[in-house]
């Protein structure tokens, strides 16, 4: 009852303030648009808006970013489905089946499923977030230390290695390239320069936004360019036939499973929506009776990925607000908003700024709900982007990607990094490697190394220390078994 009263209080505060309403709807539409426009993402919008939040109240600033987070994760699904360009890494698995659906003339069904499942996953996640923030945060705080987070990263990478590449080995090579890119720059323990080759730019590491833009947006353009030159380019077929409710009800098990996966992945700092989406998708494949249909345009693939990644958004706020630990780029920017107002996210926020917390919770609930309505209206407009001939769309996407890469840090070298990543991604993709695997390795690499170092320090550099931590040990064993099974399958299973 107390939770409901708090939620009601947050809702009244949110919608009784005209400026709050404007910011809320600005965030909803802006997040969706920037998520959906090929070549830019919600992170681009957030980066551009960050300096301006100094002029807003903390409630408005944090609320704006949390709304952008919810709707931006959904918006990225549109480009993943229509152009094979995930707006963010968490939309990468959506493209696995969403894009083939577009090629099969079922873009509307895929986008419609993404709208409904994003709204459903996000809204349920927001409700659970409100009810269970305190107990779950307490459990995660006590049960998940660095050894467990490292073990979860390992397990996640082991599971994800089977997705996207031509063979198991190429899947692992893809992930390892990502891990290697993440190593460049200063080491997380001693601040020692690694593989900077005397270039000051590399000291700060290779920024993930230009790299992601390169591997996804630019590589896709290059692949389409080659198809066009070879005469095998197929323009996507248009349709706006959204899936029926019965069709979605038929996938209820996948939805529930993805909500659970998404929520538990999202709650852990640094893991977030990306692993949630990959695991949601992988579990859908694992439990499916007809695995062969995945990757060819199966609706369940889109449903699982999009439910899981939006289910992670609510959960991702728990470590941020309860512990002050950002789980990803956007939540890290939220820490910046707090700091601009001389505040620190963490347990004290619940004590000193309960109003802020409940306004943010209410805003996230309604933002997810609004995906259902605004998403439908906006999607039909965006699907029309497919009518633009590719020779006109390609320079537009490349220019948007250029602005997005440059806007992050104001460095022209980021633009070059993006285009070089695009060229590398082109060669790797045509050789059967997975660009999604590279990006997952890149994002989880830094977290993996940092938590591994912390874990080993905690365990006094005794490997056997992992055995004394049941969750960490369980995840490591599960990861090793997954790998062993994949190696066995690669060598000994008949083709």
């Amino acid at each position: 009852m107390e939770t409901f009263n708090n939620f009601l209080g947050g809702t009244i505060t949110l919608f009784s303030d005209p400026l709050g309403i404007v910011i809320f709807f600005g965030g909803v539409i802006g997040g969706m648009l920037f998520g959906a426009i090929p070549g830019v993402s919600m992170l681009t919008l957030a980066a551009i808006l960050l300096p301006f939040t100094a002029h807003l109240s903390p409630e408005h600033g944090i609320m704006l970013f949390s709304v952008i987070y919810c709707t931006g994760v959904y918006g990225g699904a549109i480009t993943a489905i229509l152009f094979n360009i995930p707006g963010a890494p968490e939309n990468a698995p959506t493209a696995f089946d969403g894009y083939p659906m577009t090629k099969n003339g079922q873009a509307g069904r895929a986008v419609g499923a993404a709208v409904m499942c994003s709204a459903l996953g996000g809204t349920i996640s927001a409700v659970i977030m409100m009810i269970a923030t305190a107990p779950i945060a307490n459990w995660a705080i006590s049960a998940f230390g660095p050894p467990e987070i490292f073990a979860l990263v390992f397990f996640g990478l082991a599971v994800a290695s089977s997705v996207g590449a031509k063979t198991f080995w190429k899947g692992w090579l893809s992930i390892l390239i990502g891990l290697l890119i993440a190593v460049v720059g200063l080491d997380p323990v001693g601040g020692i320069k690694r593989w900077d080759f005397g270039m000051p730019y590399l000291l700060a590491g290779i920024h993930f936004i230009p790299t992601i833009l390169g591997f996804f947006a630019v590589t896709e353009i290059f692949v389409q360019a080659e198809n066009k030159v070879r005469g095998s380019y197929q323009a996507p077929k248009l349709s706006v036939d959204f899936p029926s409710l019965a069709e979605l009800v038929a996938h209820k098990v996948a939805v529930v499973r993805s909500i659970v996966i998404g929520f538990f992945c999202g709650i852990l700092p640094g893991i977030g929506a990306t692993l949630a989406a990959f695991m949601g998708y992988n579990e859908a494949v694992r439990w499916s009776k007809d695995k062969s249909e995945f990757g060819k345009g199966k609706l369940e693939g889109v449903i699982s990925s999009e439910t899981a990644n939006n289910a992670a958004t609510g959960a991702a706020m728990i470590p941020l607000l309860a512990l002050g630990l950002p789980g990803g780029a956007l939540t890290a920017m939220m820490v910046g908003v707090f700091q601009m107002h001389d505040m620190e996210p963490g347990p004290l926020v619940f004590l000193n700024s309960a109003d802020l917390v409940w306004v943010v919770f209410a805003a996230m609930f309604f933002a997810n709900l609004s995906i259902l309505f605004v998403g439908y209206m906006e999607t039909k407009t965006i699907i029309n982007l497919l009518r633009i001939p590719f020779q006109f769309l390609a320079p537009m996407i490349l220019c948007l990607a250029t602005v997005g890469a440059y806007a992050v840090r104001g460095l022209a070298i980021d633009v070059i990094v993006m285009f070089v990543a695009g060229a590398i991604g082109f060669f790797l993709r045509r050789s059967g490697y997975s660009v999604a695997g590279i990006v997952l390795g890149l994002i989880l690499g830094r977290i993996g190394e940092q938590t591994f170092a912390q874990a080993m320090q905690m365990l006094h550099f005794e490997w056997s220390g992992f055995a004394g931590r049941p969750i960490a040990a369980g995840l490591l064993i599960a990861g090793v078994l997954t790998l062993a099974g994949s190696i066995y399958g690669a060598f000994f299973k008949k083709q």
């Binding site: 692992w172 080491d187 001693g190 290059f222 320079p395």
Partner: protein
């Protein structure tokens, strides 16, 4: 040789050579950290070891099963490999890598010339203009018969020119270049659509969101870039 082809051996050799190269350079940061006995090099070297193992694993896989089918149906669906393509010959790769090297030649050559000839900033700018012109001419001749290579290299060339000549002068040329390489030959339509894309970008990002885009730093290009910013903002 089993099912091995030369391409499989070259692929494995590239990975192993890459690992060896980075392993040698990892000695640059092999330093002890007081609170962390593994030091800064253990994690990267472990990744290199795993890459080497995976590359050998892939080679053994190729030896046993050739190119084989993907280990999963999902992977098959994502298979963009182009074994039967015209764009898979050694000549095509060499030609394409030459095109991809052009932006990096531009990024390094003017400074080298300026250092040798002891040029001041105006001289360096002239060197940049001359080298840029030569690189563009070489690029135009080199892309004949290799449109894919041309498309791969053009954005990197655009990125390399961005700092010196600015977004405002380079983006229209880049937009028209991409359209041309994608096969568009209706020049009036190219100008109208290209102009529209450029105008939309400027209005949305520069006029509305005040995003600072590179203005360039070479003579006339810098003046042009800053005057565009003044007009738009």
């Amino acid at each position: 040789m089993g099912n091995l082809r030369t391409g499989h051996i070259v692929e494995a050799a590239i990975w192993l050579g890459f690992c060896l190269f980075l392993y040698i350079y990892s000695f640059d940061f092999e330093q002890e950290i007081e609170i962390y006995k593994f030091g800064a090099s253990a994690w990267p070297r472990t990744i290199l070891l795993l890459i080497a193992i995976a590359a050998i694993g892939q080679l053994i896989y190729n030896w046993k099963k050739g190119d084989g089918s993907a280990t999963s149906m999902i992977a098959q669906a994502h298979d963009d490999s182009t074994d039967g393509s015209d764009h898979n010959s050694l000549k095509w790769y060499l030609w394409t890598f030459f095109l991809l090297a052009l932006p990096f030649i531009y990024m390094n050559l003017p400074e080298g010339i300026a250092a040798i000839m002891s040029l001041e900033q105006p001289g360096l700018h002239v060197a940049k203009l001359v080298v840029a012109a030569v690189v563009v001419v070489v690029y135009v001749f080199a892309i004949r018969g290799n449109h894919v290579g041309g498309i791969l290299a053009l954005p990197i060339l655009f990125g390399a020119f961005l700092q010196d000549f600015g977004f405002y002068a380079m983006a229209p040329i880049f937009i028209l270049g991409v359209m041309f390489l994608f096969g568009e030959r209706r020049y009036k339509r190219m100008l109208v659509v290209g102009g529209g894309i450029f105008a939309l970008l400027l209005m949305f990002f520069v006029s509305l969101l005040y995003v600072g885009l590179p203005t360039g730093n070479v003579g006339w290009f810098y003046d042009f870039g800053t005057s565009m910013v003044n007009i738009l903002q």
